[in-house]
Amino acid sequence: MKWSTAWLNGGVVLCVLASWEWWVRSLDVPVYLLPGPLAIATAFGMHSRGLIVGALVTTGEALSGLVLGSLFGLLLAMFLNFWERLEPAVMGVALFAKSTPLIAIAPILTIWLGFGPAPKIVITALITFFPVLVNSLTGLRAADPAVHAVMQSWHASRWEVFVHLRWRAQYPYLLAALKSVAPLSLVGAVVAEWLGASSGLGQLMWLAYNNLNLPLLFAAAVVLSLIGSLLYQVVVVFERRLYI
């Protein structure tokens, strides 16, 4: 990004923040209805330790769930690539898992897996596996038909077609899914923590909301959005390295 572009974008963000602060002050909007940026910045300072600890906990759970869910989705897509006839059954179960409201299964997972990070990781994995499954499967089937025909003419086995053609063909689809689910994994972890946890940004946000401490709630949301952006950028960098 050019410096002039960076200054321009920074200026726009500053203008938005300044307008927001001016608006809440001029209209005397109570902090428990909408805090201004300065109140949120103050909350950052006052609760920095809690926010950092919470961010570490939540990011750990989100990344664990992301890796678990993505691997599961990828493996399932590979499985369906070889056993297409099982697709209706597998996708039916996957859709059921995807469509079940997390709020309904979170308490059950706590009873099965305890109060620790395990239920949060499983919930995050449940959120992330489906987009990876669908995109990977689409990618595996998006291989160039001409190349496929050539490989078939060489009597390539299904495994060879998979390794040399389909696996590479699904990269863009897999990376698109990862760009989508990386920030989403944080949502999974936060929702799970919101429903009962001893630590993490979700628990901090739940307490802040119940105590109507909106500056802290917004500060935690900003931290979450920064971590989400970071995770997204990690996938983007990985994507660039893969294709350069």
Partner: protein, 334 residues
């Protein structure tokens, strides 16, 4: 042909239906004049037989609001603090809030909340253990896993203090809202709403031992009808009418429990009727003030004692002026 015949027949029938509807509606208008006063009430949780909710449901269904010339729009919160946000934003005129939470939010972030009637004369929460655990008093909690929801509440520390137990002797665990973490042995002591989880677990055949703050002389109060100082200044007539009607509704529910449960089931058709009855009976027992006062009564001494307890266990950011957190101006006899 047949279609044309049907259409020809329907036209005069439609006109007749319209005319009858207009006449009937006009008749209703004459029989029951439209209420002049309007107010929005938001229950602090989903529809169920919490006593303050029942007061509103019964007042609505028995026409007590209408007799006061009041039209009440009944809303329900999904939990959390959205009802308080809507109250202070002026979108809602009355909501239900726990007395301790009212004090806490009054102290920080300074919400101008005022209780207009105290419906729960003792706290809503209790702690339960499986009877088979052998725990008889909180002194037996030493070394046990004790659950809390969100953050450890002050009445937990007050109970421990009264029983002479050092909180460091327990393992405090943040639990969710499913009481089965108790029955599956994940915690030894679980926090419950007295009118809710004990019944759920009892129906599953679990025998529990329960402790509540009031048993140990710890001051605790339950749900209130809350409004704001602005609403009291701007809508005193509406609030007076609301309080009269809802307290009459609670009084009626106390002597017509089955009928009151029927009313609750209209608002919560998916609920278990027997559980709603348990909830109502439990809250009625906790709602009758001492000394023969009517439902909703509240005194400065009650609020001051609760504030002192919250301050002692560092559950209140700062002391607030007790005379500003409640008013008796809308209660009968004032």
């Amino acid at each position: 042909m047949f279609r044309a015949w049907v259409q020809n027949m329907m036209r005069p029938l439609g006109a007749l239906w319209l005319a009858v509807s207009v006449v009937l509606l006009a008749g209703c208008q004459v029989l029951a004049p439209a209420p002049q006063l309007q107010l929005t009430f938001m229950a602090g949780y989903k529809p169920q037989a919490n006593l303050p909710f029942v007061g509103v449901y019964v007042a609505q269904e028995r026409g007590l609001f209408q007799k006061e010339g009041l039209s009440v729009d009944i809303q329900h919160s999904g939990g959390g603090a959205d009802n308080l946000q809507l109250l202070v934003a002026g979108k809602v005129q009355v909501t239900t809030v726990d007395a301790a939470v009212l004090l806490q939010r009054r102290a920080d972030p300074g919400l101008p909340l005022v209780s207009i009637a105290l419906i729960g004369q003792t706290g809503q929460q209790a702690y339960v253990a499986m009877q088979a655990s052998g725990m008889r008093t909180p002194a037996d909690w030493a070394g046990a896993k004790v659950g809390y929801k969100g953050a450890p509440p002050p009445d937990l520390y007050a109970i421990l203090d009264a029983a002479g137990v050092d909180p460091l002797q327990l393992e405090l665990v943040s639990v969710g809202f499913d009481p089965h973490v108790l029955t599956t042995g994940m915690v030894d002591v679980y926090p419950v709403f007295k009118s809710n989880e004990p019944d759920i677990l009892a129906r599953e055949g679990h025998v529990l031992t329960a402790w509540q703050a009031a048993d140990f002389g710890v001051p605790s109060l339950g749900l209130t009808y809350a409004t704001t100082a602005d609403q009291i200044a701007n809508k005193p007539v509406e609030l007076a009418a609301f309080t009269r009607a809802t307290l009459a509704g609670i009084e009626y529910a106390s002597t017509h429990v089955d009928e009151a449960v029927d009313v609750v089931m209209k608002y919560a058709p998916e609920a278990d009727r027997a559980h709603m009855r348990y909830m109502l009976e439990t809250e009625l027992a906790a709602g009758r003030p001492a000394g023969g006062a009517g439902f909703g009564a509240q005194t400065a001494a009650q609020w001051a004692a609760l504030q002192a307890m919250l301050l002692k266990y560092k559950a209140l950011a700062n002391a607030v002026q007790v005379d500003q957190v409640f008013t008796t101006q809308f209660l009968a006899g004032k």
